[in-house]
């Protein structure tokens, strides 16, 4: 790949980078800070860690297992999860870099589902961390400890989900917030809009019901010996007996 033509310059930069890091770790020698700055992780390739193993360049597929499930993550300690998060983050960065590089080089990016596997693992990990924090806060404070979401009236007269934010002054003093979030919806224009919007929603719902009903008629016509339970399970809102009575439902034969 062409990006690797500049390998020399990249490794030189990474060398500089490594030196800078190691110099910094040497200076403080007394306290805990020194221990924190001293990284025990083996430095593999500096900036080349953004790229995959050279064996995987230009291959058709890179075999990998499944993503971490929630149950597998629940049995891991907080520090393990913390470490795993950075492993996953590095892997995702590497995969996105490789994807971009493959695009530039018009080459095949092997096994693109790896990105999804890593992202699913990260989502699951975050869910487990939230779950643990929520348990702590519910026990200690009786609240979830997460950002609250409340339903407020939007500018169009329709309710919107508002994620609360942190401010230094209370609500009644915050004129800027009031201007942005408090809407006068008690006027004729908004009322007309809401009426027409509700009408549109109702019409869409009714049209969907009619479409489903006609589809069921089509199914009954084509498959008269169909499993009626399966049909009822798939279209719970459709009156199947009424559909059976429909003229369109009957085939071109004399009824028995």
């Amino acid at each position: 790949m062409a990006a690797f033509r500049n390998i020399k310059s990249i490794t030189q930069i990474s060398k500089l980078f490594n030196n800078a890091v190691s110099n910094r770790t040497v200076i403080p020698a007394n306290t805990v800070l020194a221990i924190r700055n001293l990284s025990t992780t083996k430095c593999l390739g500096g900036l080349m860690e953004f790229f995959d193993d050279e064996k995987n360049w230009g291959v058709n597929e890179v075999k990998t297992g499944k993503s971490w499930s929630i149950d597998e993550l629940r049995i891991k300690s907080n520090s393990d999860l913390h470490k795993l998060w950075f492993v996953l983050l590095k892997e995702r960065n590497m995969l996105l870099t490789m994807e971009e590089e493959s695009k530039e080089e018009t080459r095949l990016f092997p096994s693109p589902e790896r990105i999804d596997k890593v992202e699913v693992s990260m989502d699951n990990l975050e869910a487990v961390v939230k779950e643990r924090n929520k348990a702590y806060f519910e026990l200690e404070t009786g609240e979830t400890g997460e950002r609250k979401v409340e339903e407020i009236m939007g500018p169009f007269g329709l309710p919107v989900q508002h994620e609360q934010e942190e401010y230094l002054i209370p609500k009644h003093m915050n004129a800027e917030w009031q201007k942005k979030h408090v809407h006068d919806v008690d006027n004729a224009d908004v009322k007309k809009f809401v009426r027409l919007y509700k009408e549109k929603e109702m019409r869409e719902k009714r049209q969907q019901q009619t479409r489903d009903f006609n589809h069921v008629i089509g199914l009954l016509k084509r498959f008269p010996d169909m499993d009626m339970e399966a049909l009822k399970a798939k279209y719970p809102d459709v009156d199947i007996d009424k559909a059976k009575r429909s003229r369109k439902c009957r085939g071109h034969f004399v009824p028995k």
């Binding site: 297992g65 049995i75 990105i115 596997k117 924090n133 400890g145 329709l158 919107v160 934010e165 399970a233």
Partner: protein
Amino acid sequence: MRLTQLLCSSVGKWSKQFSNLPDRYIERTMNQVYWKNPKGSQYKPNTEVKRKKFRFSVHRPWTAQFRQQNSPGKLYKKVFVEPIKDWSFFRGDRVEVLVGPDKGKQGYVKQIIEERNWVFVEGLNCTLKDMGGDKKYPGIYVKMEQPLLVTTQVSLVDPSDLQATAFEWRFTEEGDKVRVSTRTGRIIPLPASIEETIDYKSKATYKEQPKDTLADDVSEVTFQPALKTFQMDIMESMDIKDERVPLKTYWY
């Protein structure tokens, strides 16, 4: 219901089982967004105009052929698919073909396309397709299996007498759901290849790859419950002490 969920549910479980691909990847490759609502104050926030009706045929949703078949602007006539309560034909099942030139022959299910109620039976119900021909060269004929409808065109085979049979799902004394032949009352066992994927024959025989976490490391229990949040625990383990008192703030 969100459209992504709809998309995901439109691809049947058994259609994607053999590929061993994450649902999210299948969803991502199928997704065709033509227009997105701009950010800001909208009466319908995060609205997307995207393809809702897909043509499912012999091509799998994550392949280039599927994308070509469902390219933007291409519409197809509606296909009526008979609803089925429980999917009952799995990879490796011995079935009898009830129609066509191979009527009465038995074979094994090779591929499942749940969206159309189709199965492919290995080596049966084939057509010859001319491939790679041009003006000078006539091309070569490739034998390809054609799909068969599970509702009318194939039948499961009773293992006791190797004859085609009707069946139903019943529960055993232990509470397992099994397929039972209505003719002989024998159980038709699920094939061993039911959990086979492109990556492994069975979960037990999976060969660990260099990028995988070892199974022992995954199953090791390291969690010790303590009255701490995640952040408190990490700060303690890293010896970070924060004694600053936060300002009084308001959330709204």
